[in-house]
Amino acid sequence: MDNLDNLKKTPNYDMHVKYGGKIVDFGGWALSVQFSGILEEHKTVREKVGLFDVSHMGEVTVVGEQALPFLQKLVSRDLSTMVDGQIYYTHMLYPNGGTVDDLMVTRYGPNDYYLVINASNTAKDVEWMQKVAKEFPKVKVTDISADTAELALQGPKAEPTLQKLTRVDLSKLKYYHAVRGVEVAGIPNCIISRTGYTGEDGFEIFTDPRNANKLWEAIMDAGREFGIKPIGLGARDTLRFEASMPLYGQELDENTSPLEAGLGRFVDVDKPTPFIGQEALKKQVAEGLPKKLVGFEMIDRGIPRHNYRVAKNGKEIGYVTTGSYSPTLDKNIGNAFVPPSEAKVGNEIEIIVRDKPLKARIIKTPFYKRKK
C-alpha cells in the first residue's frame, strides 16, 4: 500500500481527492491512476473529452541572445526553421547517442523558448542543460516547474469545451502551436498549446499553481454537457501507447537513440550546427541501427508487458518496451526492440509470458490514428 505522506502533491491534489481518484505513488508524486476506471476513461477521451492533471511535468525557460545556439547544441532537431508560437517535439542526447529526455520546445521569439520535459527526468534534465549552458554565457536557463501548473484537455470535444472559457479563437490555433498571456476561465496569463499525449485533438493549459483548482473546476463545468471525465495515469498510458507515442524509460532511455525508437522524422542527423550525440547518430546511420522498435499484436492468448522477452524460433532476440490490452482495438498489442533484420511487418515472433512462448506478429504502426 502506498504511503502518501512523503509524496509530492501537485497544485490539483485536492481535485484528485474530491473526484474520487485512486491515488498512488507515481515517481514520488501523489497522482491518480484512475477515477472511474481505466477502460471507461480511455473510451471517454477517444469519444468525448477528458481532463488530466499533468502538473508533475517539468517546465524550463530558455531566454537570451544565445538561446537558439544553445538549443541547437542541446537537441537533435534543427530548430532554425521554427516560427513564433510553434512547438517542436525533439530529443536531448548523450554523446553516445542515447537519450537524455524527449521534450517539447515552444518558440515564442528568436531569443525566447519554453521547454516541457518529463516529470521523472526534471532534475536530471535541468542539471544537464545547466552544464551545456556553461558554454553559452548569453543564455539563461530557468527551471520554473515549481511555479507552473499544467492541465491537459483531450478528445474530440476538447475544443468546444475550452472555447467556452476563452476569447482565443481556438479554431485558428493550429496543431503544435501555442499562445501565451491569454485568459482562460477568468484566469490571466495562461498558455494554451494545441498538443497532447493521447492521439486525439486537445490542449495543454499552463497557469500559476494558485489558479490550478479554479481552472480544473471551470473546465469540468464547461465540459459537463459533452460528458467530460477526469482521467488518470492508467488511461494516459493506454492512450499514448495506442497512438504509438514513446514513453521515456520504455521506448527511449540512455541506451536508445531516437533513431532506434523509430523517431527519425524528428531528428536532423545532418544538422549543419553540431549537436551533442550527432557523431554517434551519424555512425548509426552509416553502420545500421543496433536495434529497432516494432509494433506487434498477439496471436496466442496473453498480454505482453514491459520487459517480457521476445524470441524467434526459441532464440531470444529482444524485449517488450510497452505491452497492454488495447481498449480501442480490443486486442493485446505491444512495442518491442528487435534486431533490424527481424523488424518486418508480418514477421512472426514469440513473446515469453510466464515462461511460455506465445505467438505474435509484427504489424504497422501507429496502432491508432484519429480520423481527421
Partner: protein
C-alpha cells in the same frame, strides 16, 4: 456489496463456497475493486491439483498481473470458460457469475485456516483503500 455468509475467505482475498466435497473458488469484491478493470484471466487446466496457497490462476488488470492463491487444496473439476470471452465478469459479479474454478477438496481440514464472513469483513475494512 455484502459478503456471502456461506463463503470462507483468505487473507489474499479469494473465497471458497463449499458444497459437500466440492468448492467454488473466486476473487472477493475487495480484490476485483483493487485490481481495477480485469482484461485477462488465465484459467487452470481441468484435472490440475493444488495445495492450499498454491497459485491456481493469474488475473490481469490493465495495469497489473496478479496471482490467485488456492483457498484450499483440491483438484480442478470445472473452470469458468465465460471468463475467456468476458473477463469483466470478475469485476461485475465476483461472488456469482465471476467464479473462476470448481475444485474437489482433497483436504477439508484446510478450511479451518480460513476466515468466516464476519472475520473477513473486519479484515477487509481494515485493509482499506485510497479513496
Amino acid at each position: 456489496m455484502a459478503y456471502p455468509k456461506e463463503f470462507k475467505y483468505t487473507k489474499t482475498h479469494e473465497y471458497i463456497k463449499v458444497d459437500g466435497k466440492e468448492g467454488v473458488v473466486g476473487l472477493t469484491n475487495y480484490a476485483q475493486h483493487e485490481l481495477g478493470d480485469i482484461v485477462f484471466v488465465e484459467l487452470p487446466p481441468v484435472g490440475k491439483e493444488f495445495k492450499q496457497n498454491d497459485v491456481f490462476a493469474v488475473v490481469e488488470s490493465v495495469k497489473a498481473v496478479s496471482d490467485c492463491y488456492a483457498p484450499a487444496g483440491g483438484k480442478v473439476i470445472k473452470v469458468n470458460e465465460k471468463l475467456v470471452e468476458d473477463p469483466s465478469l470478475v469485476n461485475k459479479d465476483p461472488h456469482g457469475e465471476g467464479w473462476i474454478m470448481v475444485i474437489e477438496l482433497t483436504n477439508p481440514k484446510d478450511l479451518d485456516n480460513l476466515m468466516d464472513v464476519a472475520a473477513y469483513e473486519k479484515f477487509e475494512s481494515e485493509a482499506g483503500s485510497h479513496h
